[in-house]
Symmetry: D2
Subunit: 343 residues, 4 copies
């Protein structure tokens, strides 16, 4: 059994890692840390885990973590970058779910996250944890930087269009929406039910931290700079991301269905729906799956790609486990093949 450590287990990506790993046939969580909850049983904080998890939160002690085969950082940004170098030096493998190692350029990172990067010299070593783009590199990586929840859906939506050079790459538009769990398990006024329920709004329209990550990664795929306008919205629900992506076709009216089906034919966790269907967030709830559909309204020049995922699974903890499976040579679908919870 693979020995897993989790740093920062009191957030939603932490409890989701625990839920998913509880059903994983080849991995076992042996340590989970939280500065604020040291000594408390995990299932006292998360009663859904009663009967599934006997762990107690501990201090994030380096020695215990270094003894793990792999350590997940389920922390806010600006935490992992302070601890990861030492862990790597001690021989551990690290999968960071936060933003600390996603951007190659420490200057861009600082501009968007408002702080100096603590270990810019380790950025080059991080592999971007989107298996559909970087499966081989992940297999050999010691440090994986998992993509943000929005970027996962948006990149999977645009990839077939950019890889095939089918669209103007400087006019990509992504209008995406997330359930409130994307904001984490935090007591913020904006997220209380009375403010966030029965409501829909955009936020960060003038610029959101996930934008440079999307442009960096899609630029790699396209082989040159891309221009992405990204507007996120807050959905009155718990889980799920939906991205509606627009691009200008070089060939108006092109039939994109086979393009998408071919591109993702061998991917276990990317599911191109039959022509005419629309993906829904609820059909991937709890599942490590991105469902996609594509349309060209009125047969004109604008391609519309719709992508859904569970932001806590394929957008975070599930994808992180997918990376773990790849890094450690396990079957990629281990612990991740269950269907979504519907209704």
């Amino acid at each position: 059994m693979i020995r897993v450590g989790i740093v920062g287990g009191t957030g939603y990506t932490g409890v989701e890692l625990l839920r998913l790993l509880a059903a994983h046939p080849g991995a076992e969580v042996v340590a989970i840390t939280s500065r604020g909850e040291v000594g408390r049983r995990v299932d006292d904080l998360f009663p859904n885990l009663r009967g599934s998890c006997d762990l107690v939160f501990t201090e994030p002690a380096a020695a215990a973590l270094a003894a793990c085969d792999v350590v997940f950082f389920a922390t806010p940004h600006n935490v992992a970058m302070h601890s990861v170098p030492a862990l790597l030096d001690a021989g551990a493998r690290v999968i960071d779910l936060s933003a600390d190692f996603r951007l190659r350029d420490a200057g861009i990172w600082s501009r968007w996250y408002g702080e100096t990067h603590a270990c810019p010299e380790r950025l080059a070593e991080a592999v971007y944890g989107l298996p559909e783009f970087h499966r081989e590199a992940i297999a050999g990586a010691r440090l994986v930087a998992c993509p943000g929840c929005y970027p996962t859906a948006i990149q999977l939506a645009f990839a077939p269009l950019l890889a095939g050079d089918l669209v103007d790459r400087d006019q990509l538009i992504a209008s995406a929406a997330s359930g409130v769990s994307g904001a984490g398990r935090q007591a913020k006024l904006d997220n209380i039910l009375t403010e966030a329920s029965d409501n829909f709004k955009a936020y960060g329209a003038a610029g959101h931290r996930h934008q440079p990550e999307i442009e960096q990664s899609l630029g790699d795929l396209a082989g040159g700079p891309v221009g992405v306008t990204f507007v996120p919205h807050l959905l009155p629900m718990i889980r799920g991301i939906h991205a509606t992506c627009f691009a200008r076709l070089k060939t108006p009216g092109l039939d994109l269905q086979p393009v998408f089906e071919d591109y993702y034919a061998d991917e276990p966790f990317v599911d191109v729906l039959p022509a005419g269907q629309h993906p829904q967030t609820r059909t991937v709830r709890g599942a490590n799956r991105c469902q996609l559909a594509v349309a060209v309204p009125q047969g004109r020049e604008t391609a519309v790609v719709m992508a859904t995922e569970d932001n806590l699974v394929k957008g975070a903890s599930g994808q992180a486990i997918q990376c773990m499976n790849i890094m450690l040579g396990l079957p990629e679908t281990n612990g991740l093949a269950h269907p979504g919870l519907l209704p």
Copy 2:
């Protein structure tokens, strides 16, 4: 007091007309019809009206309706067009909340609504009921065709950009979302709570009936054809429309805040938010108001306009009453000035 008749009062636009008119100082509902509920008290169907409404549903008899000063059609499409001509001939004023008289071209109407238009010869007589565009024509109209809920928000979002010739008019993109009440009070499987709650999806991505209406009306405003890509989505909530509209600026980085503030400076029901704020559907819940904000992400070439409204008020029944006020020479804000219900 203005005598009001309502045809088809068992849907959500019907009950919303009753709620709003109950607080209108100069109008009184004297007849409300429903083929399916003849003889039933209105407040038996809608207990929120107990104490406010003593009416009983009647047959849609022409004589009673013709005796009204104004008749609202709160019916599905393909109903009004069969009854309106006779009512107009009898001297009544008609405000149609359905799609029957929105498109000038009966052929286009038939293509999108799947049936032959029953009175194409009356289409020219209908005035499009968007007061912000056609206030004077509405004042003199005998037949007003109220805009669809999506088109109201989307047109108010794009209007300042097109009127000022600030954007490429063939690349307009509207990604919009509606609460489930937009689908009406109908027992459809897709709309039951277990299917529509905790979910988000696009629908009609390949083409939606509101698209030609938007292109017709914005084309009038722009003085030439426009190209609109419109993708609607279904929100897991009851009321509210949010439109996120994208257009390519002729002058990258242009400051659009004064453009919008100037354009709507005198409009009582269009509210441009201070720079940096984002409109929310909940702040216009129950109110006859469209709130707008505009951003130019990263100061580049794409303008993002966000617009919210209550689909049943500014997107339907409230706007219809606004048109009534204008048609009958009442102060335009009568019965419509109350704030939204928050939280």
Copy 3:
């Protein structure tokens, strides 16, 4: 016009007072205070009020408040009791929406609210602001203590049974549920959408602060001590309280419909539904109304009374305005007659 002051206007009962008073024909808000938001426009905090409210939050200065005809305290408990005595001495009328003056016994108050009462000598002067029980006393009061949201619904449900001596008064059971707005506009983890949505739970089952208030007031009505078991629950929605109340009939199978209809025949804001209907929270959303229904399952010995109200209206701000109307000699329904927002 009556000059109204509001202390503590940043919570939900505050914004609801503003919404309701904006449509009140005989009252005007002239001062609204908030220690935390001094100098900020009210409609910046609550954009639903844009166009309806030009006020700015001020310090809670005694002089300005004393100049008002009536001052509402929309504060948490333990605030009003420190300021109210001076205001009363200055000649103001006060309507307190908090718990500070609801209990006659300062010792019981301290036991449930965990602090010493600041002015026990003023408790006797407070009139309990449930107009259906104490209309005349309210008319002559200078200090009104509005009931809690749960107690309003529960007392209106039990009153006809106790007044008629129809049930065992020591075995009253109230299983009630509230939307999250009952917990106020506060950033608490338990109330964020991801925790409170798609969920239902009881809380305070071992004892809740509203229990002694219910027993005190129903005891007055019954003419002797009553025993109430009260269990509140948290509903995954914004507004609304539903109380399901059980009592043991002295006469099994008694027809309670006429009992309830007679008891509330003259009440403008208590609405007994026709036999067989069930009240819903949504039909009173935004309205100052309590809807009631009664059943005797299988014609046995247990009476079931169901009561709904909007916790922010009949359960708080609407009832407070109802009390204001009575205190100041206005028609009791002024500003409160509008129907609920449905759907």
Copy 4:
């Protein structure tokens, strides 16, 4: 592998059986029937099953079903009773999730379900599928009648009190609430999001079909007739049942925590929470688990028991699989041990 057939697979208990059995190590669904969807792929109707289920809906042919080791009826009431006798005669084991075989007395069944029972002579043969009460009988059964969703929670709540003879058994009160999925996958107006969302109401207060089932089964446990007042409510959410149960203690103030912990000490799927906690529906979402807590408010004479379950899992499909495991000699927790989905 156990060969499983499912009759009536287009409802929510059907898709939930498929989701759960997809992860079951010892069972395989080989046939799924639906008169209305013959020939359609199951994962076309339920896209959450794409990749997990290759089945196609078939006619409910007796031969194919009789070849299964066990057949689940996931049908509305009044279906199974017409087909089950022949299947039993053919040697199949049947687990009926509907109400057809729950009541021993065909007359009572007819009174509540409005139709004559089709096979009253087989009622005696059915074992009531609540493993916590009837584990041994289920092990030997050929026909199991799974309890209703409400009765499961309510019976598990009252059982320790009745088994210990701790309460008056003629004054049991159960105020329970269910998510909308309890009403099935049906296009009914009452269940569309605009009617059922942001709302709470009781229904069937004068008498609900689950009441006689509860009285029959609790009467067996208590060793004599019990009197239950049962009022169900509709929650504005998808999954989950919460029962709040009241009973009059023979010994006021009795400490019930050890009573409940002892009673359920060996049950894998009934979880008594630590004293002072309240069960939530969300912590059992998707899990085959009932969580319980007990309180005695103010140490008086009324016991309050709170019970939560997922109505589609422990309240239906999960419990049915639990019965299957017992009937077929598999470990009882097979396929059912996963944690709930939180948040």
